[in-house]
């Protein structure tokens, strides 16, 4: 039956004792706690820390000013390196400067591709939210989308808005909607209401894997024939992609972002390496659809894709 499979844990691999390399690295993100996407960034970072014997200090706050204080925290703690998301580059500039002034190397991840160099970060790992949104928009527009619905599950979030803006730039008929991402029932009935209000909606773009599942339910309940596409992956969505219920998922490979951010700092500290050679390292967007899902599906079960 559907319970836990007694698998040997192959995601962890061997790994070193934490701190055996002598380095402490702080990772600071704008995660809203409990999001599967961020959980994968964290997993990647933890795996890298394990592989390289680094002590990892992870902290997060969605509020830019509090994130700035967390960076200050890391500086106070005299860590050896800092990896941070730069979703609100202007707001974080001061704290990043405090870090570089204290001779702590900083790398950017996930967001801030345009500004990371200006802020003084050494390297960058991630995709660009607007670019990701645009490529999603392009792809559905090419498939004939006239009136897509972009679902924002956290009001006022800069990165979510950027994705929708990108989609709209490629598919001009795109309309936004706000839902309460912390309540699946509410997401479902809100989408259901929207689909009933506007029957011309032909695509639903969700910005997180769990929301895509709710969108599928809403679509069924409303009797709509809209197609669902989503950002990010998890095991259930991968399954839906395989089953053809979800057209495709745009994966920016969060696990890689986390892993590389920590590894790059380790290599920089240990060996002076500069990954990307002064250019950002793009981890996405990569499309997961029927063509490649079979390869990817197993990895989603280990929480690494």
């Amino acid at each position: 039956d559907g319970g836990r499979q007694e698998t040997t844990d192959n995601s962890g691999g061997g790994g070193n004792a934490p701190g055996s390399s002598g380095y402490t690295i702080a990772m600071i993100t704008h995660e809203t706690p409990g999001d599967t996407f961020w959980d994968k960034i964290k997993s990647g970072a933890q795996q890298a820390a394990k592989d390289e014997g680094v002590t990892l200090k992870y902290s997060n706050d969605p509020d830019a000013s509090k994130q700035a204080v967390l960076i200050q925290n890391a500086v106070d703690s005299k860590v050896n390196g800092i990896a941070t998301t730069l979703v609100t580059p202007d707001a974080l500039a001061g704290s990043v400067k405090a870090a570089t002034d204290a001779k702590i190397p900083v790398v950017g991840l996930n967001a801030g591709i345009d500004q990371y160099q200006k802020l003084g970060a050494l390297m960058y790992f991630g995709s660009d939210e607007t670019v990701a949104g645009t490529s999603a928009g392009e792809r559905i527009a090419a498939a004939g989308a006239k009136h897509p619905l972009c679902v924002i599950h956290q009001a006022g979030s800069v990165s979510l808005e950027a994705r929708c803006a990108g989609a709209k730039s490629a598919a001009p008929g795109t309309e936004n909607i706000q839902v309460n991402g912390a309540d699946d029932s509410s997401v479902t009935s809100t989408l259901q209401a929207k689909l009933a209000q506007d029957k011309s909606i032909d695509y639903i773009i969700t910005l997180g894997a769990p929301i895509a599942l709710d969108a599928l339910k809403a679509k069924d309940a409303a009797g709509s024939s809209a197609k669902v596409v989503t950002f990010d992956l998890n095991a259930e969505i991968a399954q839906q992609v395989q089953d053809g219920k979800v057209e495709f998922s745009i994966d920016q490979q969060p696990y890689v972002q986390g892993y590389l951010a920590v590894s790059s700092l380790y290599l920089y500290l240990k060996n002076g390496n500069d990954i990307g050679g002064g250019k950002p390292v793009l981890t996405g967007p990569s499309f997961v659809d029927k063509t490649n899902i079979d390869k990817i599906l197993p990895f989603t079960k280990t929480n690494t894709r």
Partner: protein, 355 residues
Amino acid sequence: MTHVQTSPPSTAPPSDSANRVTLGLSNRILARPEVGALVAAILIFVFFLVSAPAFRSGESFFTVLYQSSTIGIVAVGVGLLMIGGEFDLSAGVITTTAGLVNSMVCWYFGMNLWVGAILSLVFCLFIGFVNGFLVMKTGIPSFLITLGTFFVLQGANLGVTKLVTGSVSSADISQIDGFASLQKIFSSSFKIGPVTVWITVIWWILFVALAAWILQRTRTGNWIYAVGGNPDSARAVGVPVIRTKIGLFMTVSFLGWFIGMHTLYRFNTLQAGNGVGNEFLYIIAAVVGGTLLTGGYGNAIGVAIGAFIFGMTSLGIVYAGWDPNWFKAFLGVMLLLAVLVNLYVKRMSTARKVG
């Protein structure tokens, strides 16, 4: 004992006092605490009927009802608790805790889901008991105690889920034994013509009816009003204040468990971070429905109408297709209007003079 005077005291029982007035039927109806909320609900309903064409269908109405029921079921408990003079800020996360406990215990140990559901119920009741017990024993306001529980549960939801499943969402349980029967109870739906009726709506009506009965017609209801209105006086005349209040906390966590079961069996997996923020929706529903924040006054039907107003407004805005950026602003204005109408009706009912 033969000395007992059996004649009434010499002051003859006075007849009806001269300035005693009897209220007409219309006034007696208007004076009921839920009528204000009802009038507000009707106004908002008509408003959306006019301004949102998509709102004018049975399907839409039942979608609204479903949405209201998922808030309304817990709100009934929260309303009772607030009438009893206490808050529960952990009512939102406990729904997620309930689902997670059930889902993870069964997934991890390969148990039947029924066992997990019952374990989860016991656990939730225990949390409610702890809330109530701490509030009563320490004298610390419930706002603080349950804020603590809220944080602890929120953290534990995440931490434990991550430990058990390796990710921050629970595993799909739809293949585990017992799923079908539990889904029947907690999250099935049936069709009446084109309209889908969720079973939560039925449950909601049942819980509201039960709560209304308890409040108006039973001794327990009397005690709830008393412990909320004036706990010292209630204690002085022999009301078991501690028992009543702990019972109320446990009622809230029972209903939280119920909605947790619904969410779990409707969506099969749960995000460990969910549920946060809903505690305020429950409080909003209760207060919009005429419950006094300071306790001692309110009514189960009012709370149900409050939940309905909230559900209707939040979906009505979507049905009307208004700019989503302004969503919250519309919601705020609607809530204020609902409360103002409620107040206006109440004023009318006491100011109007009969005879």
